[in-house]
Amino acid sequence: MIVSPALGRGTRAAPETDGAAAVTPEPVKSFMRILSQSSKLGNPRAWAYIEWQHGGSNCFIGRRFELLGSGLSLFAKKLIGVTTAVAVVGALLGLYVAGWATSFPKEVSASAAPASSAGANLTLETVAAVGAKYSSHPSWVSYLVRTGGRWQRTTDFKLPANSVVSVTIYQFDSPTGLRNPFMSQVQGTVGAGAMLDGKPFNAIPPEEASHTFAIPELGVFVPLAGVPEEAKHPCEEAPCEPSTTDHRTITFSFRTGNKGRYRWQCFVPCAAGWYFGNGGPMQTLGYMDGFIDVV
């Protein structure tokens, strides 16, 4: 056991006498004096927080600064160092925040309906794999919307308030099967029904559903039947043209109600490869979920 000679009680300090404002209590000072003499371990170099002193410090940061501005005073060097650090942190921060802020899919407004009815048209398509052209996850399943004459992958639509929106969906994916068969019935549409390949229907067998178009807050649930397995030439990758490949066409219309930002999503577990089919594209904005801005 290291027992140093009675060096002076480590922390015991004689009681304050009359509250004299001795900065360091008397006996402790002796203890410290012994120490300070003994701590003349070589000559401790005066050293700044980061070693920026004149006279060839052996830390390479210090050396590089000397080459830069030999005439600059120490303060100027510090100022340069701090401003560059602040600039770098600011830039990184800006990149970080910008990365978050630009995570919203582009907003697309529905094309105006023909002059007769005051509503709007929305043409969508659902594809089994979105392909490298549209996303960095080529194998993800996704919705696409037809705007300006071509298919775009965004799920953020702007619709007029209190009007009827007629929706046409070209469905290219094979059936996966609904988790909760309750969604196999068409709900919340104008006329409480929808058209599948030209024939009206109000429910489909749940195992035939490939996706749904659902806006829970407006009560709209429309199941989309899948292309049967033995289809001759299914569409491999977006953009799928209804004219050339096998598909199902579902048309319906719904009333948008008053202003607001409603979310819409697919209720079929169609994200193959994730637990219960609800990961990846089903949990990323811009594939199988999105917003409807009723303005």
């Binding site: 056991m1 290291i2 371990l41 070589g42 401790p44 170099r45 005066a46 050293w47 700044a48 927080y49 005073s73 120490l74 303060f75």
Partner: protein, 221 residues
Amino acid sequence: MASSSEELPLGRMVPPVPAGAKIPPEPPDVGARALSVASRLLAGATTFFFLGYIFAYFYLRSLNVEHLWRHGHINPNQALGAAMIACVVLSAALSVLGGRLMKSGSRSWTVPALGGVALGLVAVALQCLEYTRQHFGPTDGAYASVFCAWTALYLIAVLFTMYWLETQVASELRARRNPAPVEGDIRQADRLIAPGLDAAVFYWAFLAAIGVVTYVVLYLV
């Protein structure tokens, strides 16, 4: 704005080992005490680590969600399991014997210690062999998952302990050839081998006990 403090010689925040500093070497018993406390704490931490798997085993078994806990055909290979646990217990016994011999001063303690290390590695090999003979993988239900994860992690703990024992034996063999310099930063560093072995043997005996619990729960119950 360079304030007057520029000239004030401020000592280095934490000076490195200054040139020529006479740092008194430290007596080895400070390190010895630390090693024994550390091995007991490590034993505690390992217990809580495997407590997670014991809890998982009994919790999932009692819940038996949708009767998917364990299908009839999922049974580990009993023979290889018994061989593995026998090697573990024997290796721990040999290590304890080595520790005793070392304490009694006989120089031949390294033989049982090395035997213990070898048997530990054999146990690991046996368990890996058992994986190939058990006709089920980790994806066959809750029991299979718990079995595979728990035994695999136990093997990793055994390998770490074998490494720890091996370092003590290697230090002893090297110390007999050329003893460590007296004036290193630990005075007579070789006097740390005894407490080091003692700590390693304690931990290995404790881990062997956990191994027995693992064997009983996974193979027999």
